[in-house]
Assembly symmetry: C2
Homo-oligomer: 662 residues x 2
């Protein structure tokens, strides 16, 4: 009786169908004509160009890993899983971004012709396609492999390849997208606003299309892959831990994460429908309703399920722990990037850029404390209830409703893009006001989403590390990660340096890539006659091309370090050192991710707070100081910070995959 | 036959006598008259005022801890040791700073009247008093207690109180001194240079004496206490680990750290004499000779000793490992704060303050990698040779020649102060040139010294943590710090947040304290008629008072957190959690300390590089951008960064003290 194994796959397919229907409804709305349509098409095509070139490079890298896995003792099954994982992750990112780049122009048109409610509906539809693709492809891919392997503990190990495939794609998407978006942003702003003296999102600026493309490839495709790999990683870790457990219900425990994710998808359907129904009210209220309603529905359904299959209600408490913890961590992020800390940073701008930097860094450092303590509490409670399996299941609990979480998260950049299009196409003050109000809500949801993503990634990574330890112990029962063992300690120190190294490399990469962009935009202003007067067209495709080349070239090094480090330490210093390294890297990644994301978000909002007319408003010296903070915050929050989430997951899953060989 | 136990005490007394002789010779030089003498006296008195008020407050805090220890089951012996440790640390800081504030004015006069060689001699004498006081008081205090307790393993635990006393004093000196020095620096610069438009170190500026006082209380007294507690902590850890070892030579192993430190003091004598002999040559060469000669002499003597007492030459290799490792870590620090990374930061100033920040942070993050890998290598090799005892003995090897290391380190601020006095007293271009050349060498030695201090503190802390684990295991043989034990993991997460929290608090404290200073300086310029015209005297004592009050008030919170955290976690969550917390905090502290110290040093030198006339020189927009980096770097490298060293040592030693109660 293994027919139930098909349920996640079937539900995943249903999710994809729903996503397609939403896409179809969304694209039936007016996409404008003339200038509007042209800008929309340029952004869409630019994003497609980037994705194609990124995936081509990624394909090569993945092919090398695929061959390595195939010829290694891990063999065909792991290689197959790797391939499925990489394809699923790439497809989720691609489909979501495809829909988002269709939704942005339609959102702008709806804001122009019909007002806020329809604009909200369309941008949320755009985000929903992403959310549902992530959730559904995870179920189809991972559920399909689980079904194929028959849920047999003996072949369960092969499934880890899925996580490795997903994580590898995610790492490159996140890092490449992050470098692209910030180099385009910084380049367009520096030359356009400061040197040429034209406003933001002005169509005369050759870099402005690249900037809008960047929002899509970084904040949508990158974020999607990021969440996708945490989502799948958490499930894989639970399966792995359960497969080594000697308890009565180990088969049920192995299948439970897939079952929970299936329920989470159903809850996401309900959440998306509810937000849709409430789209005529204030956007913030509509989105918040969905954010709260879906997890509530999910934990109730989870209770019914867990109570029925008899694995013990203590497991349900771990699920609840994760679901509540995710919301709490998001709310702390909202506090640090949204209220009194932001005003404090803005005020510190009155004494110059240096104090903006000091205050912002201090806020960022302080902001790590509570989320990490919450994570510690989740770990403590969930393991107390259900052992290490509890950590994994808490992560699954946090991530199951990823369909709606990701939909709300991806809504923000769509609204942001719609604002950019409205500005470039000169749609007028009224339209801008509507898109701005949608964008503002999007900034809040993005902050919450980032905190959530970090928390989820940390729990997922920890669960994978636990699975790694269990797997090594199967082959070597004496294996332990005793901290006073020097080999473990040495690993921990090595692991701690990796997030600092990757953060340094990615931050430098943004600067270098922005430099290429600046030179190209300067060249166009210099060489294209009549461009500044608005009589000639900029070569926007060339800017997209420059940013693409720069980003792709610079994502290789950090990506390679992340994949190679566990292999080198594992085979060079042994499994104990590798375990220590994962511990040190996990700690470092979580701390740096929170610090960078929150400092960056707080700087961004401090600048916006001043731009609303506070403390002298735009053009004041306080504003100039805040702009410095915002510029430093850009790579913090959109490149280096988010890379940390995936970095630790890639290292953990690579370790899990090679565990049987150590 | 325990007469040999007296040797460290006797040698320590000899060291104090040598320090006194050097002090006597140094003070016989000309201290100038009129304006020069007045400025010198103001700095000296200002420093004394700060120290007195700091020690009064510290005394209260120490009294509370003393009573707690006395009434606790640890009892009289631990309380006595605590008192001796606190007194020794406070005395070392006080004497060293007393001498330094006598040496600065004499250095300026010597530069004015006799030229570079005598100026170098006097400033190095000033530093030597500090170096010898640190080394000697450590031997007298710790050696005396060891002698008093008769080297008996049963009472050995009481000696940990010495480390706790020294660390507590060090924490407050470092944090209080760090806040003082940077708030005075930032306050004096902002109002003086930017608002009133008068040059640096101008006698009309009311804050300029406070600024010079700050160099003494921060860079000399603070640094002295910092190194003192690492030095004693490393010895205490070795004694503790050896006392739990069941080997033939455990008595010899317990005494070995004190014996090595005694040899180190002898080697320091030789090094100081050699530098003195070479003072007529280039200052850099003279100091470098001493830096290399003393450790070489030390390791040779250590070989003879270890070979004779029969504890096995593998212990000597650990000593060598530490001695060489310390030098290497210092050299890496020199690279990151002195060569191509600095020029890269300076060049990034051409595109504004934001790129200076990004590049500097990236350099700082990258700079952690190699030193931490070296630390990992030292840990790996030394434990491979001699177990956990090896880590402690490597730390002792690194720190034994502290007499000369600290002398060279303290020389820098003395020369810096001499330059300030020469400027304030209008001693002319020629004198400034000499003091500037001495100061420049001092900046390099300071950078090396900082790297060394971090490395030494990390090893010492690790050794203390190892001693903590051993001590807990004596009472509870099953005790282990298994990383996959959730309790340990939760502790590790909590520990990781503490350096971020303390860094955030201390950075904010500098900003707040600087604000008080700015208001006072503004008030004086406004209310004292004729001040700006040079016709009236500023109230410099009031500025010292303001900075003192501000610093002392703001050192309480971070100090209390450091002492309370291990107690709360230890008694609340248990010894395993506390062990995990120490591991997480150690990793976080080392990474943050290196990142902040190196980024700060690199920003500082990037500014100086531009001021030498590169990239547009002073007054250019590139320079203005570099000044922003330098201002952010100030609390990084002189307040928050150095606090990390002591933070981890305080937490470790408090844990070791309470270990028998857990």
């Amino acid at each position: 009786m293994t027919e139930y194994l098909a349920i996640p796959v079937v539900l995943g397919v249903v999710g994809l169908v729903v996503a397609f229907v939403i896409y179809h409804v969304m694209t039936r709305h007016n996409h404008g004509e003339g200038q509007v349509k042209k800008i929309g098409d340029q952004i869409h095509l630019g994003a497609m160009v980037f994705m194609k070139r990124e995936y081509r490079m990624l394909g090569l890298f993945a092919l090398v890993l695929l061959i390595c896995l195939y010829v290694s003792p891990l063999g065909f099954n792991t290689a197959l899983s790797f391939l499925v994982g990489a394809l699923a992750s790439a497809t989720a990112g691609f489909l979501g971004m495809f829909a988002a780049t269709k939704a942005n122009v339609r959102t702008a048109m709806a804001a122009h012709n019909h007002g806020a409610p329809l604009a909200l509906t369309i941008s949320f539809y755009g985000g929903s396609v992403m959310g549902l693709c992530v959730a559904s492809l995870g179920l189809v891919g991972l559920g399909g492999l689980y079904w194929y392997f028959g849920g047999d503990p003996a072949t369960a190990h092969a499934i880890h390849g899925f996580g490795m495939g997903a994580s590898t794609v995610a790492l490159f998407s996140r890092v490449g997208g992050g470098i692209f978006t910030k180099s385009a942003d910084v380049g367009a702003d520096l030359v356009g606003k400061l040197e040429a003296g034209i406003p933001e999102d002005d169509p005369r600026n050759p870099g402005v299309i690249a900037d809008n493309v960047g929002d899509n490839v970084g904040d949508i495709a990158g974020m999607g892959s990021d969440i996708f790999e945490s989502y799948c990683g958490a499930m894989i870790a639970c399966i792995a831990i359960a497969s080594t457990m000697q308890v009565a219900h180990s088969n049920e425990l192995m299948f439970l994460p897939l079952a929970l994710a299936s329920l989470g998808l159903l809850a996401s359907f309900a959440g998306i429908a509810l937000v849709r129904l409430r789209c005529s009210s204030a956007p913030e209220a509509a989105l918040r309703t969905g954010t709260i309603f879906a997890p509530v529905v999910f934990v109730i359904m989870a209770w019914v399920l867990i109570d029925n299959i008899g694995v013990g209600t203590h497991v349900w408490w771990s699920v609840l722990c994760g679901a509540v913890g995710g919301v709490l961590i998001g709310l702390i992020t909202e506090y640090y990037t949204g209220s009194s800390p932001v005003r404090k940073i803005a005020r510190s701008g009155e004494t110059g850029a240096a104090t903006v930097m000091i205050t912002g860094l201090a806020v960022g450092m302080q902001s790590v404390v509570l989320p990490v303590l919450f994570l510690a509490a989740i770990i403590f409670i969930s393991t107390h209830l259900s052992g290490l399996y509890g950590v994994g299941i808490a992560a699954v609990g946090m991530l199951s409703t990823v369909g709606i979480t990701m939909a709300i998260d991806a809504y923000g950049p769509v609204a942001d893009n719609a604002g950019g299009i409205a500005e470039m196409a000169g749609m007028g003050e009224e339209t801008r006001k509507i898109t701005d109000s949608l964008d503002e809500v999007g900034n809040t949801t993005a902050a919450i989403g980032k905190g959530f993503a970090i928390g989820a990634a940390a729990l997922a990574a920890l669960a994978i590390i636990a699975a790694f330890v269990e797997t090594v112990q199967v082959h070597n029962p004496d294996f332990s990660l005793e901290l006073s063992n020097p080999v473990v300690l040495v690993g921990m120190f090595i692991g701690g340096t990796i997030p600092f190294l990757i953060a340094s490399i990615t931050m430098t990469a943004v600067g270098d890539a922005a430099f290429d962009m600046i030179n190209e935009i300067r060249r166009q202003f210099r060489e294209i006659p009549g461009l500044l007067e608005g009589k000639a067209e900029p070569d926007t495709a060339r800017c997209v091309d420059i940013a693409t080349t720069a980003a792709l070239r610079r994502m290789i090094l950090p990506g390679s370090i992340a994949v190679a480090a566990p292999v080198l330490v594992g085979f060079g210093l042994g499994a104990a050192s590798l375990g220590g390294m994962l511990g040190g890297a996990l700690l470092g990644c979580v701390l740096m991710a929170l610090m960078m994301a929150n400092a960056g978000g707080a700087w961004d909002n401090a600048k916006k707070y001043i731009e609303k007319g506070n403390l002298g408003g735009k053009g004041s010296s306080t504003h100039a100081a805040a702009v410095v903070g915002d510029t430093v915050g850009d790579p913090f929050k959109d490149t280096s910070g988010p890379s940390m989430n995936i970095l630790i997951n890639v290292m953990a899953i690579v370790s899990l995959v090679i565990a049987p060989l150590l």
